[in-house]
């Protein structure tokens, strides 16, 4: 498409141009001035979304996953790959619903993942390094960007909430462990300490005292899943994937519910509640 093309010509799906000459803008029937204004509106919404969801997702993750995401010596093979994806898929699921349903944007999960990464990129250095002097490797966060990208791609492929939940939700959880293991593998290297074996993560947790966090509060591979031996993490990842299918679908529905506008009927009772007298003329 070029600038001399008539604005009234029907745009086709192959035309992908940014700005006022975009076929989407043409199809929407926006004038160049309106298109520019809509771009400003986009910018304001993006800023608001980033600020709001950076805080909300971080709060949500800290409340529900807490120490599992906070400390390196909590990231075990059993609970960490199970708890974290289940907690982390909630906001991405809801955001996907909103972005897809109203704008056909398959970016909701990635927005959620990036917002969380932005939040931890601010809080971990500020809280732990600058404020309390802990080393960064004690508080390395998990990332869910890999799973979120695949979740968004699944939505783009299937264009359907149910199939996205089944395949995307599962992939989101299943990819969590390997995509984070790449980062955390060095921390599972063994070292001898006081005649006992410790992973480097255990050692980091031991060397830097957290006075109010005694060792026993860690929840490390408790239960019978250890009978699977070395495969505990994959069994956890599979189970987490199963749970995430339901979590995604539920939070998709919640996202739809929370983003739908409802209006109260303008009847006499409502008018009375608003202080409008029955004989007063009102618009609408």
């Amino acid at each position: 498409m070029n600038s001399t093309q008539s604005a009234s010509a029907a745009p086709s799906a192959g035309d992908v141009v940014s700005g006022s000459f975009s076929p989407v803008v043409q199809a929407a029937g926006l004038s160049p001035a309106a298109a520019r204004t809509s771009r400003l509106f986009d910018l304001l919404v993006v800023i608001a979304v980033v600020l709001l969801f950076t805080g909300a997702i971080h709060l949500h993750t800290m409340l529900l996953a807490g120490d599992w995401d906070m400390f390196i010596d909590w990231k075990d093979r059993q609970y960490w790959p199970l708890v974290m994806p289940v907690v982390m898929i909630m906001f991405p699921g809801a955001l996907q619903a909103v972005f897809w349903n109203y704008f056909r944007l398959p970016i909701g999960a990635t927005v959620g993942a990036v917002c969380l990464m932005l939040a931890v990129s601010i809080t971990r250095p500020m809280q732990f390094m600058l404020w309390t002097d802990y080393p960064l490797n004690l508080v390395l966060p998990a990332q869910m960007i890999a799973g979120a990208l695949v979740l968004d791609v699944m939505l783009l492929i299937f264009r359907n909430a149910l199939f996205t939940a089944i395949f995307g939700g599962f992939a989101f959880a299943f990819l969590f462990y390997p995509s984070n293991y790449i980062i955390l593998a060095p921390y599972y290297v063994p070292a001898a300490h006081q005649g006992m074996m410790a992973s480097m993560a255990d050692l980091i947790g031991y060397v830097y005292p957290r006075s109010a966090t005694p060792e026993y509060i860690r929840i490390i591979e408790r239960g019978t899943l250890r009978t699977f031996g070395d495969s505990a993490s994959w069994v956890s990842a599979l189970f987490s994937g199963f749970i995430c299918m339901f979590m995604h679908y539920g939070w998709w529905k919640l996202g739809m519910l929370m983003s739908s506008a409802t209006f109260l009927p303008n009847n006499r009772k409502v008018m009375a509640m608003m202080g409008v007298k029955a004989d007063q003329k009102t618009a609408g």
Binding site: A13, D133, P135, L175, A185, Q194, M197
Partner: protein, 419 residues
């Protein structure tokens, strides 16, 4: 009026300065050890013979805390039993680091199970200076379900530069890590960067186009074909394949790079208590009062010497407060080198009859432990406790220097007027 306004503004202007002054003084504050309920401190863990081998160290220099503690038989109902415990040092953050820790010679990196009430344990904590400053450091026993129970502390001065701190570790795979706190950080940041770059590409791919209003209107006009094109689908699939390939390939590479890995190590250790001492002292508390205005605990006790040597009361200790009978033999050596001195009562322990108790003799003695420390350490809320009892250890000593300790305790009555 104008002057008043100016004064008010001046005060408001000084507020940030006051806040800054408070922040600047934070490193010399303690960390809330006096805030614990008195019954927690008087009737759970009694630390004794606590010693710090050094009071001033440089960054990277080690110091050791040694000592013993008794788990009181009269353990409060409100506190979980010490079925799972963790021995550590209490510090304002990682201003010091842990090098080694032991309980009765058993490594204490992990928690312990099933400590026994009425028995004694010995600990040794080896710590290292990390952040320069003056830091209040305590030994601490954490009890699952109850929280930290803090022993007596001292101010440790750490000198030098924070940047000089090093904690070298040698892995079991033969790798030497120069400084534990930098280990793996650059690798982690690099991989975060890779994932963020992919996410940034995906977001930019969609966000550079007309976004919300045009897309919403177009969608409502039924032009979904314009919003998600075949090219978008192809790019999305390519991205998905890239992400999955990078994840699985990266995982395989990590497995190859680190072939020997172990899971996080957890679980509890078990350790026997110290051998029970052969007791030749029996103490029965007849009554106990706390004189609120006089800041004095008065205990009337019947003490029986079942041994073959005469003995004298040496010390009463509770909640890290120490009341020493200056007339007892060896009283001058009761405070070991490097022991915390902040909580030693200046007035000591006053007895109604300080003469030695002969072998086989039973004597009724009134003990008075009087000091402002009861107030300073915030131990006087016997009045507000649901279980108004006291507890502590009574040390006795023979002329040959043999020392014994006996657990004492019972109900305590507050008195509100000067007697």
């Amino acid at each position: 009026m104008t002057n008043m306004l100016r004064g008010a503004l001046r005060r408001i202007a000084l507020l940030p300065l006051a806040c800054l002054a408070l922040l600047a003084s934070l490193d010399v504050l303690a960390h809330g050890e006096r805030a614990q309920e008195p019954y927690l401190r008087t009737r759970t863990v009694q630390f004794y013979d606590v010693q710090f081998d050094r009071a001033k160290i440089a960054v990277n220099e080690e110091f050791t805390i040694t000592g013993r503690f008794r788990l009181m038989q009269d353990w409060p109902d409100a506190v979980s039993l010490p079925e799972t415990v963790y021995m550590s040092a209490y510090s304002p953050g990682p201003v010091i680091t842990r090098v080694e820790s032991y309980v009765n010679g058993v490594p204490a990196r992990q928690s312990f199970a099933d400590f026994q009430l009425g028995r004694d344990y010995e600990f040794r904590l080896v710590l290292k200076g990390r952040v320069p400053g003056s830091h209040h450091i305590h030994p601490m026993l954490s009890v699952k379900g109850s929280g930290p129970l803090v022993g007596p502390g001292v101010w440790i001065e750490v000198t030098g530069a924070r940047a000089d701190f090093r904690h070298e570790v040698k892995t079991m795979t033969g790798e030497t890590i120069d400084n534990l706190e930098d280990y793996g950080v650059s690798r982690a940041l690099g991989w975060y960067g890779v994932w963020i770059a992919l996410a940034a590409f995906w977001l930019a791919f969609w966000l550079v186009r007309p976004l919300l209003i045009p897309r919403w209107i177009a969608l409502n006009k039924g032009r979904e074909d314009l919003l998600v094109t075949r090219r978008d689908l192809m790019v999305g699939i390519a991205l998905g394949i890239t992400v999955i390939g990078l994840t699985l390939g990266g995982y395989a590479y990590a497995r190859k790079s680190y072939p020997y890995v172990v899971p996080l190590q957890a679980g509890t250790s078990k350790v026997d208590p110290l051998p029970a001492q052969t007791s030749t002292v029996q103490v029965k508390v007849l009554d106990a009062t706390y004189d609120v205005p006089g800041r004095a605990m008065r205990i009337k006790a019947k003490i029986t010497n079942t041994g073959s040597e005469p003995l004298q009361v040496l010390e009463f200790t509770t909640a890290n407060l120490r009341f020493i009978n200056r007339q007892a033999p060896g009283a001058d050596k009761a405070v070991l080198a490097g022991s915390p001195t902040d909580t030693i009562a200046r007035g000591g322990l006053v007895l109604s009859d300080a003469s030695p108790i002969g072998p086989g003799e039973t004597r009724e003695i009134a003990l008075e432990a009087s000091d402002v420390l009861w107030e300073l350490e915030r131990l006087v809320s016997f009045l507000t406790d649901v279980d108004s009892k006291f507890g502590g250890l009574l040390f006795t000593v023979t002329p040959t220097g043999e020392r014994q300790h006996t657990e004492i305790g019972g109900p305590i009555l507050p008195t509100f007027t000067q007697l």
